[in-house]
């Protein structure tokens, strides 16, 4: 069986006309001899509408009633797509999470997939049915669960893994992954291929094309992903494992940025063992994710400065948490800065090709952009800079690494 999983995002099914054109796309794949599992998002705006209904009553999302309400958007779309396919003469059947069943844990509103029972769908696929599964949905012991925002990508990848699909197509409103945000860099280029690791760095760096969680899942199960536009008839960007990527390909895949972090600096922290553990332990206890951390090197026994970044939405609670530590740690003063951007160079070729950092730092220096904090991973270098220089940094780095070629 040559099976493709095809996931359609909210804008791709935002109107009945678009649902009809989704059905046409699927019919074409069926005519080409493929079996298809469609994964449907809710119509654009519908999930937010449902969340607002709930939030007029409560902000507590941690129960199965929330999931029961919220999952109905995908239920509607899955039925409508199945109906549209039937109208085109294509045999089709929708399968809600409980009908498959797609079993999750009981972490309502943010559940994790535990097991996908394959018997029902396999039998229907073998009989030539196109299967339409609402994304985002699962079931835990006869109760409806949902996988958290953007969970439809995860549903698609999990189904592709379970049913050993030859490909998982993620249809969205952009036509692929670019070397940089095309709104910022006019000569940004669509990538034909990118590795899972690169996509993970890009996704968590703000590329917003795919949920991080679904990329990690695809990497673990080696599911070949394609991100493509549902509004055009051309191939998108393939996300594959490193072995499948041409070795002579460019070292750097893309330049990304995020502007949703804030920087906190603590000056003259008493330099004795355990101070950092107290600070970051207290922040972790509040559920605050700390991204970049830098501590100035000091001579033994002298005071030190500690700088770190948190999400801007966590800034207030982070500051209060630090203030409450004043009896445990000593520091002169704390300053904050929300006008910062994190700019990253991502590429799996970095592993084998040294000198990327040098080019990056020199480019920024040549443009008088001051680097405030640096963090690195195997395939990524990120710098924190004043947000005034975001566009300039992204554009000049894009040129410096020759990504427009």
């Amino acid at each position: 069986m040559k099976l493709i999983v095809a996931k359609f995002g909210g804008t791709s099914v935002g109107t009945i006309d678009r649902i009809k054109s989704v059905a046409l796309k699927i019919k074409k794949e069926v005519t080409n001899g493929y079996n298809i599992i469609v994964v449907a998002s809710a119509m654009a705006g519908e999930t937010n509408r449902l969340i607002k209904l709930v939030e007029k009553i409560t902000y507590n999302h941690k129960n199965s009633e929330y999931d029961t309400v919220i999952s109905s958007g995908e239920q509607v779309t899955s039925g409508l797509i199945a109906i549209a396919l039937k109208e085109l003469g294509v045999k089709s059947k929708s399968y809600q999470g409980w009908q498959i069943p797609l079993e999750t844990d009981n972490n309502f509103s943010k559940a994790n997939i535990e097991c996908i029972k394959k018997e029902n769908i396999t039998s229907d696929l073998e009989n030539g049915y196109v299967i339409v599964v609402p994304g985002f949905q699962g079931v835990y012991k006869n109760r409806i669960t949902t996988l958290g925002r953007g969970g439809s990508d995860t549903s698609a990848v999990a189904l592709a893994a379970a049913f050993k699909a030859i490909r998982c197509d993620i249809y969205t409103d952009v036509d692929g992954v670019y070397t940089a945000d095309p709104r910022l860099v006019t000569n940004a280029v669509k990538l034909e291929k990118i590795t899972f690791e690169e996509m993970l760095e890009l996704a968590s760096q703000g590329a917003k094309v795919l949920q991080t969680r679904s990329v990690a899942l695809a990497m673990n199960y080696n599911v070949k992903l394609q991100v493509l536009s549902s509004f055009e008839n051309k191939s998108g960007t393939f996300i594959i494992n490193e072995r499948q990527k041409d070795m002579e390909k460019t070292i750097i895949s893309g330049i990304t940025y995020t502007s949703n972090e804030a920087k906190i600096t603590l000056f003259n922290v008493n330099d004795k063992p355990g101070q950092a553990a107290i600070i970051f332990g207290a922040l972790a206890d509040q559920g605050i994710n700390v991204d970049m951390i830098v501590q100035t090197s000091t001579k033994d026994g002298e005071a030190t400065d500690i700088t770190f970044t948190v999400l801007q939405s966590d800034l207030l609670i982070a500051k209060n948490t630090i203030d409450n530590l004043k009896n445990k740690i000593e520091f002169n003063n704390m300053i904050e800065d929300s006008k910062v951007s994190k700019v990253s160079v991502v590429g799996s070729g970095m592993r084998t090709k040294p000198g990327i950092a040098k080019i990056m730092f020199k480019t920024l220096a040549d443009n008088n952009i001051n680097i405030q904090v640096i963090s690195t991973s195997e395939i990524k270098i990120s710098v924190l800079i004043s947000s005034n220089y975001t566009e300039l940094a992204v554009r000049t780095l894009h040129d410096a690494f020759g990504l427009d070629k």
Copy 2:
């Protein structure tokens, strides 16, 4: 266990504020020591919105995908009511049709209930949970089914029968059943009690308070029904069996009317055996429901006139059907009249008290209202009149039978 089934119609759950006040009503019953199964309709307008989405693709409702889409409105409301109850500190849990399970046949979009499995809900009721069931929904072999428009009343009565509820409260936007339409007859009186048989005649005569099907079901299983307003704090109309009703109560319960029928007359039909069978057989084959029929008495062998009524929406197809019979039956000509109303006097006391027809016909004659067709049942007399006289007929009959007292 003192169990009440409480069903709330679309306007009763039309906004989040109304859902909150539904939750308050239920909490009060719980405080009074009752166990409760709530049956929820979709928020007003929601089912029509969903049907319109489907009908932009197809008018074929006969498959489980239609039911999957359409049932989502009740799913949302059931979750929201359960959430609102939790917020008031009332333990509650929603049960979709498939979660109960409430099993139906596979007559998608108009399914019939076959079996309600009681184990899950009984166990939760015993543990003090309020159970919230979306009306209208069932399941057939892992596929979602729906019970047809107004099916939520049927869900409520079926649950009340299965769980042996002491009462089934149907909350709606009117406060009970009246002796006549209060918009027409200003001194119409709300009935405290009415029998199932009377309610059946009233419902099918256009009282529009309860689905006929749910009243028949309640009669079969002897479920005590109450129709009451969700916007007021007072009792409504109880629908009970005849033995429970006071014997000295008034003979006539109400005057109703419908204006959605049309009259067809065939003149000079050749009077030989089998003519009527051909006419009404052909109409039945087209799915046309014929209501009143009258044939003028003739001497043997002479031509006769046949008059009957059909729904106005069936008039065109009925006429075409008769036209196509011209080679099988002989008649001079066919005339139609849509400007007719059927006015009915309903009361189970008719069985034992003769003379109702006489009062009815005399009242109409005194007001110069011509009777075109008459039909009767054990507890009902209906007459077809010119629709110009509808209001006059209903008001004068209401007075003649002393229903304002």
